[in-house]
Symmetry: C2
């Protein structure tokens, strides 16, 4: 019997925690903890595709690119995305291979450098909203606006450096490397793909694909990935065991199992934090609508239990 195929989307904290400096060693240790849990899932009979965020890594890389600009040119945001796919993909495939071997599973693990197509017409290109890279003073921000044509916004008022560059966060349309990802899955490999939401590319008139300065939401791209591999389940891992309504109030309530209709109602009511739980629920809903199967939101350490129905927030048709 063919085993269930799961797409697992990892948050940034699976790779670098907020209070960490971010050395390679620290990140490998974090990834090791994550990989151990994913190896358990695989050892329990599931086939797995892993996708992951890259916020802290891309942020660090953008600072490095900027600091050295008088010596070597900064690469584009698309190229930096590609670099973090190599960086995080390597760490993940290295630690996941290790834990699989320990668990007696001999599947190879492979990172696929992944482009994700977006549309020029996406409304987010007109009003970019995703902050990236370092924080600036107003003067610095205005200078970058002039010199580099950055779009800058004041994102943290009343701080020393309240301004940041913002870039579009367009909708993912297609996973360009889906054939290769599927070929690897068919061969029995565990695949890491579409890191950081994928390298955003747009279709050019000459039929080529061009990298764009944008950041695709990794959970939305995770859904497109789940579609591309025809996943049986889509599981989004985050800091908390469940999604909640009335979050951080005395009436806070963990959601165990909710229908698409309930999830959409809660989204409409603003129950979930924008830029945090909101996009996860949205991506989960998209998957359930498309697959007529369930999506799960939970924490890393509850992932296996959640797959077996014991834990987590389950979004069902």
């Amino acid at each position: 019997m063919s085993k269930d195929l799961i797409v697992i989307a990892l948050g940034g904290n699976a790779i670098k925690q907020a209070d960490q400096w971010g050395t390679t060693e620290e990140q490998l240790r974090n990834v090791d903890v994550t990989a151990q849990q994913i190896a358990k899932i695989i050892a329990n009979g599931y086939r797995v595709v892993v996708t992951h965020g890259n916020g802290p890594q891309a942020g660090a890389l953008l600072i490095q690119q900027e600091e050295a600009e008088q010596f070597v040119p900064a690469q584009t945001l698309a190229a930096c995305g590609a670099m973090t796919q190599g960086q995080i993909g390597w760490a993940m495939q290295n630690r996941l291979s290790y834990h699989l071997k320990k668990a007696g599973v001999m599947s190879p693990v492979c990172t696929v450098v992944t482009q994700v197509q977006v549309s020029d017409d996406d409304p987010d290109f007109k009003d970019p909203s995703k902050p990236v890279g370092p924080f600036y003073t107003k003067d610095e921000a205005k200078q970058l606006e002039t010199e580099k044509k950055y779009i800058v916004k004041e994102v943290k008022p009343n701080t020393d450096k309240p301004w940041r560059r913002v870039v579009p966060s367009p909708e993912p349309i297609d996973i360009i490397e889906k054939d290769s990802i599927n070929a690897l899955l068919s061969s029995g490999a565990i695949v890491i793909a579409s890191g950081g939401g994928g390298i955003p590319v747009r279709q050019m008139p000459d039929d080529g694909l061009e990298g764009v300065d944008a950041v695709i939401d990794k959970d939305r791209a995770g859904f497109k990935l789940a579609q591309a591999v025809k996943a049986d389940k889509f599981i989004i891992l985050t800091d908390v065991e469940n999604a909640y309504i009335r979050y951080n109030t005395p009436e806070q309530k963990a959601l165990k199992e909710i229908s698409i209709a309930e999830a959409e109602k809660y989204l409409e009511d603003g129950e979930f934090l924008k830029g945090s739980m909101g996009p996860k629920i949205e991506a989960a809903v998209r998957f359930v609508k498309w697959s007529k199967k369930e999506a799960i939101i939970t924490s890393l350490h509850k992932a296996l239990d959640a797959l077996e129905g014991k834990n987590g927030t389950h979004i069902i048709p």
Copy 2:
């Protein structure tokens, strides 16, 4: 009939020329020229695995990492290698897919983040010889020696900054992701792998693989890759159409076809520049000894002609 499988090793100049600043756009343009030639080879019926150097890209990244060290931590050399695999692999798969489509070839192109195993006992760990990253004054170099335990050497005497960090360049033993590379090839994909000589890893007592601060020669790793995929031909592309003896003398002579014995004699006689043509001839000889088939050294624009026997230096059994 199954078509010949070729491993093509590209030099750094295929991606960034020495007189270029190194922006993403410049590198994409260079890669585009290279990809167009490789697409021609594929359109002529060959199956292809591409490997490439990363010297200029890793160099730039090391400078960026160093310049920003007070803000974000520099990643290890292994992690930087992984990052350049993402960066260059993306550029190559993007431009190669484009030229393949133009040529009517629908093969997917996939970059595999590749680890290459090395041995702790490699003599190069005792006396590292490969310069990496920025140049330093003697004082700066000595400070890095103390603070970061770098091994530094004076590599360009009588200049402002004659010192550089040197790292080991150990022999590649095994391509860790070979199963995934072969699965992709079987599915009909064109594969980009082992960029920059691969991410060097060593076997740990616990059976894991650990990244090491080293740089593997990309032509040597290219031979191990050719072995791993059972290539029919190994072609090393460089600046010149042929290897020469008595190079840069009035008696300079282009080599058309040489046996292993002749190649080894010329190597012994010091006919080939160390760190340049020397390692290419060595890697080619290793391939021919192992495969009993030919290896070719030539320039990008003569590659297809060379494959058809019209050009280049052919090393034969």
